[in-house]
């Protein structure tokens, strides 16, 4: 009797809560750290970028208007679901990064912990970033942070899960929606994460994940006039500058960390505040 033929997974894109193939029909071969074939992944095109932005924009009003408590609950739920598929992630991370199962396990745990950490920020960041302003006159004056809108994310090439979670969570916890260009080298955990997101009460379109060539897609995202901010963490210096120039066209908020990010360090609030606007509301006080 011959050995059973395994059923290979097709890794597709994650757009608007659905898992379509690239409209271009393209795919590319994803290999493990040792060069072995892992899977075919979709190679998204500029039109997929466009569709993802449309989905993110559509999801923005609902997600940004959800209560902070609700958003926090959903992030906790994502952490739970991720934890529930721990073994799958461990093997995907191990294959992608060529690390031991133990090391991969630590990275998955760290990703879960990071989600939990950001989940808790949902209803606290306002009290840190907001203020009541004692203006010199009979006015009530309050500043509160609000999400920037649709944020493009070029995810770090290394850290296909932990790095990815560390860039997505701070963007969405405050009410933004996003289009993520996953690690080109190691996209598989991102699509598995998408499966987690799709089953975590996260409304479709809040996170959209594209796999393929960062260099091809990022400029389309950076130049898109309906994207309000862009995180260039995963872009190299040349791509980052190009994207930053494109982003200037509609004055996107740009996050471009200096040097290498240490994902294990305390992330601080910077990744959240990079995509928060401050709204100040005045109202007279009188009888």
């Amino acid at each position: 009797m011959s050995e059973r033929l395994s059923v290979r997974k097709t890794y597709k894109l994650y757009i608007g809560g659905a898992f379509p193939r690239s409209e271009s029909g393209r795919s590319y071969v994803v290999t493990g750290a040792k060069g072995e074939f892992l899977a075919n992944a979709s190679k998204a095109s500029r039109k997929d970028v466009r569709d993802a932005v449309t989905a993110a924009r559509k999801a923005f009003p609902g997600w940004s208007a959800a209560t902070a408590y609700n958003r926090g609950q959903i992030l906790y739920r994502i952490a739970e679901m991720l934890e529930g598929r721990r073994s799958q992630f461990v093997s995907e991370v191990a294959e992608a990064d060529g690390v031991s199962g133990k090391k991969a396990g630590e990275l998955v745990d760290a990703a879960v912990d990071r989600l939990v950490w950001y989940a808790g920020w949902s209803d606290k960041i306002s009290s840190l970033r907001g203020s009541s302003n004692p203006v010199a006159g009979p006015y009530f004056n309050l500043s509160t942070p609000e999400p920037t809108g649709v944020v493009g994310i070029v995810a770090p090439p290394m850290g296909p899960l932990f790095g990815l979670v560390s860039v997505i969570a701070p963007v969405i916890v405050t009410g933004n929606t996003c289009v993520v260009i996953a690690s080109e080298r190691a996209p598989l955990p991102s699509i598995t994460l998408a499966e987690v997101l799709a089953t975590s009460d996260l409304p479709g379109g809040v996170v959209n994940i594209l796999t393929g060539s960062s260099a091809e897609m990022a400029p389309w995202l950076a130049g898109h006039m309906d994207v309000n901010g862009i995180d260039l963490t995963g872009a190299d210096a040349e791509l980052a500058q190009k994207c930053e120039e494109l982003a200037a066209e509609n004055l996107k908020r740009v996050l471009r960390p200096n040097g290498k990010t240490d994902w294990a360090a305390d992330p601080g609030t910077g990744r959240m505040t990079a995509f928060l606007e401050t709204k100040t509301v005045w109202h007279p006080i009188g009888i």
């Binding site: 006159g137 009979p138 006015y139 007279p284 006080i285 009188g286 009888i287």
Partner: protein
């Protein structure tokens, strides 16, 4: 928007008055303060001073008023500055009902009107019969104008109909005399109430709306006068009838008086810049107006010794 109710009830009056646009206090204060910074100089100041003098309701409303006091004041009303015949006479004198005859006697046919407070001034706390009788007495004694007070208690408790009917009754008792309705805005607490009381008084037939008795603080503030000027302006737009405005109490200096005139000019408009449609209820302001007027004429600052105290 408000229209004159025919068969009034508290409910219909309430619906009308509470259907008026609100007044944002901070915004109204800011607008009045802004107009208060207008700089009225030289020829404009001269014009304003004479206009203000001609709009004064020279007032004495003290328990200690006597025939002598009233006669002296009335003489001053006719000739505010005996040394300068170019000074206009004031618009009216304002006294208690029992002194109307005295005032009438002095002002004679000078053109200075005699106004009398009535209706259990200043509190208005009496029966309608007494208020009507009070009014009738003043009119009989020769009053050209009646300054009545509204029942603020009734207004604040929502009994708009009572206030409305009282004004109507007094208006009837006035006969030919003009009726000024004192809202006592200092007791109405909010500008929304000032606007509503203004409309209530106008709807009931008042010829003038007046801020205060002078016995309650705050009295004629700029923003309250502003709100009342807006009310008469809007009332004319909707009902086609012009109603006058009289701020009274707290107007002490020429500057105060001129600010009022600027308010009239830029709120209700030039039609109201006339003693028939705008009055300043005051007493001490007259001497300040005279002093400022003399400064403009002579170029020297004047002193109180040169103006009569009456």
């Amino acid at each position: 928007m408000v229209s004159i109710p025919t068969a009034s009830s508290n409910a219909s009056l309430r619906a009308s008055l509470h259907g008026l646009p609100g007044v944002d206090r901070v915004g109204a204060d800011a607008r009045a303060a802004g107009l208060g910074t207008r700089s009225i100089k030289t020829t404009a100041k001269r014009q304003a001073i004479d206009m203000a003098i001609s709009m004064v309701d020279l007032t004495t409303l003290e328990g200690a008023d006597t025939r002598g006091k009233v006669r002296a004041m009335c003489a001053k009303a006719v000739h505010p500055d005996p040394t300068d015949p170019t000074v206009p006479r004031v618009a009216a004198v304002c006294v208690y009902p029992d002194l109307v005859a005295e005032a009438r006697d002095v002002v004679g046919s000078s053109g200075v009107k005699v106004a009398s407070v009535a209706t259990a001034f200043p509190s208005g706390r009496s029966s309608l019969e007494v208020k009507v009788a009070d009014t009738a007495m003043a009119v009989a004694a020769g009053a050209d104008e009646i300054d009545m007070v509204i029942d603020r208690g009734a207004f604040l408790s929502g009994d708009y109909l009572k206030v409305f009917e009282e004004i109507q009754a007094i208006k009837e008792a006035c006969g030919e005399a003009h009726l000024k309705v004192i809202l006592e805005t200092g007791e109405l607490a909010t500008y929304d109430n000032v606007r509503r009381a203004s409309w209530l008084a106008m709807m009931a037939g008042g010829d003038f709306i007046k801020t205060s008795t002078g016995k309650v603080q705050p009295a004629a503030t700029l923003p309250v006068t502003l709100v009342m000027l807006e009310a008469v302006r809007d009332f004319r737009d909707r009902e086609g009838r012009m109603v006058g405005v009289k701020p009274a109490g707290g107007i002490r200096t020429t500057k105060d008086a001129i600010k009022m005139l600027v308010l009239v000019n830029e709120t209700a408009g030039p039609d109201w810049l006339d003693p028939d449609w705008f009055r300043l209820g005051a007493s001490s302001v007259l001497n300040d107006l005279l002093m400022q007027r003399q400064k403009l004429t002579t170029g020297r600052y004047a002193g109180p010794d040169y103006f009569t105290l009456d």
